[in-house]
């Protein structure tokens, strides 16, 4: 599903964010990517979503070489991904429902079908009845759930999340991770970047540890 081979990422004027990183995530796996902040977790996420291109090495997502992808193909790769980002990136000029609808609208789905799916996604993350609210009126945990609903609304086979529980207290964090678990149970491949090792202790899974850009195992 995801395959990194000898990946190096160097930002201009900075040290290497990733140094010769190789790993693979098989379909149906639930994998944690851990490490201190600055270890390179976000860079891995950005490479998978084709927000960045690797300086060296290859990144394969759905058997596509992300580094070689043309600008025209990148949008279509992103439509196959579910993404939860560190900063929520919700749009506060529209309702919760419209935020969740966004990926389906972009994909050009019929509005009625899209609406049905958006409601189902909100249902799954426990936000039924909040469709018309503005996301700014929601708590941090609820906003994170909206992000999660938006990430899974187009039923991706792969879900990646960058620090999805970073700003949440333990209760909310457990809820969110429980939802990830539920998606994993129905066959979605999940990659979660987190620095919160206590969380991993509660929900065990395979772990990839990054230390200053090097994969420690």
């Amino acid at each position: 599903m995801i395959e990194f081979t000898g990946v190096v990422k160097r930002y201009p004027g900075c040290r290497e964010a990733l140094k010769n990183v190789s790993f693979a995530v098989q379909p149906g796996e639930f994998v944690y990517l851990t490490g201190h902040s600055g270890a390179g977790k976000s860079t891995v996420m950005r490479l998978i979503a084709a927000i960045e291109k690797p300086t060296a090495g290859t990144v394969l997502v759905h058997h596509q070489n992300v580094g070689r992808l043309s600008a025209r193909s990148i949008p279509f790769l992103r439509r196959q991904l579910g993404m939860v980002l560190q900063d929520h990136r919700l749009l506060f000029d529209r309702s919760v429902f419209d935020n969740v609808m966004l990926p389906l609208q972009i994909a050009g789905m019929d509005r009625r079908e899209a609406g049905r799916r958006a409601r189902a996604a909100l249902d799954k993350v426990g936000l039924q009845g909040r469709e018309k609210s503005n996301p700014i009126t929601l708590s941090g945990g609820e906003q994170q759930r909206v992000c999660l609903a938006r990430a899974v609304v187009n039923r991706p086979a792969l879900l990646i999340a960058d620090e999805p529980t970073a700003s949440l207290d333990a209760g909310y964090a457990n809820d969110i991770l429980g939802i990830f678990r539920d998606f994993h149970r129905v066959g979605v491949t999940v990659l979660v970047a987190t620095h919160d090792e206590s969380l991993i202790a509660r929900f065990p899974g395979r772990m990839l540890r990054l230390d200053q850009g090097i994969l420690a195992g």
Binding site: A71, P75, L77, R78, R89, P103, Q105, I106
Partner: protein
């Protein structure tokens, strides 16, 4: 095809939302562009009316050919033969010296014009209607007739209508120039309004891109907005120009009547109006396209 239509409906819906987010700003930008459009539109209407005047006032340009006072009937016959052969002449009319005198007497209302004169001093005259109305063609015809035997004087009496016609032609050029300059101004205004929108919506655009929006998906609503703004501006200009004509026509009627001219003013024809709408929409869209730059 369905997906394509759907994408466009979606873009139009987004454009509508964008408009209602800042209706006053959108309306005022359209008004600014509309005022800019009014200048070439007004110029176009003035030029069109000048042309109507030129046609109405000029009727047919005429060339008067005066013969020597002692020209004989045989010499007149020769002139008439040449006039018939001359390709530049549409038709001609002969006014004999006696008829001319009689007309002068009736026009001035005095019978004793001849009292101090031994003989009729008026020449025999031919009035020629040239085939071509252009000043050059008339001058060429006049020059050739001037060299014929027994022709003393040739007079081209179309100067006023020609001046008017030239004025109208100059007007066309001025309108075209105004159109180009103000088209550029419209482009700049459209560019700025859309640029501002793009800047205030960078976050939204980034999120759209992140969730798989293609560049054309991002661009489309802005392009529609630019076009819509252009159409609104053109409608504004059309309505204001039409309203001004309606207001000015009765006030100008007395003046035009005094010159024996039609007091009906030429306005924008529906075809002109539609062309204006199309042009304005296109310029608005182009402005938006330029403003989007790398997005």
């Amino acid at each position: 095809m369905r997906a394509w239509l759907h994408a466009h409906f979606d873009a139009i819906a987004q454009t509508r939302r964008q408009f209602w987010r800042r209706p006053v700003a959108a309306f005022l930008s359209a008004v600014v562009i509309g005022v800019g459009l009014l200048f070439p539109v007004g110029g176009y209407i003035v030029a069109a009316n000048l042309k109507v005047l030129a046609v109405g006032a000029g009727t047919d340009p005429q060339i008067s050919v005066f013969l020597a006072p002692d020209a004989s009937a045989a010499e007149r016959a020769e002139i008439e033969r040449r006039l018939r052969l001359e390709p530049g002449v549409r038709n001609f009319r002969f006014i004999g010296k006696d008829a001319a005198l009689k007309e002068l007497q009736t026009r001035t209302g005095s019978d004793d014009l001849m009292s101090g004169l031994a003989s009729n001093p008026l020449p025999d005259t031919y009035l020629i209607t040239p085939r071509e109305a252009s000043l050059v063609a008339q001058a060429r015809l006049a020059d050739s007739v001037r060299n014929w035997p027994r022709v003393v004087e040739v007079d081209v009496d179309a100067v006023w209508s020609d001046r008017l016609r030239m004025l109208a032609k100059t007007g066309d050029i001025v309108v075209l120039g105004l159109g180009v300059v103000l088209g550029l101004a419209m482009l700049a205004i459209s560019f700025n309004t859309i640029r501002l929108q793009v800047l205030t919506r960078t976050e939204e655009i980034a999120v759209l891109r992140l969730f798989g929006a293609t560049p054309s998906y991002v661009r489309r609503p802005f392009l529609y907005f630019g076009a819509l703004q252009g159409v609104a501006a053109a409608l504004f200009a059309w309505v204001v120009a039409g309203g001004s004509l309606w207001w000015i026509e009765p006030r100008l009627a007395a003046l035009l009547d005094a010159y024996g001219l039609s007091s009906r003013l030429a306005g924008l024809l529906p075809a002109d109006g539609l062309a204006l709408l199309g042009f304005s929409a296109l310029v608005g869209m182009l402005g938006a396209w330029l403003a989007l730059g790398e997005h």
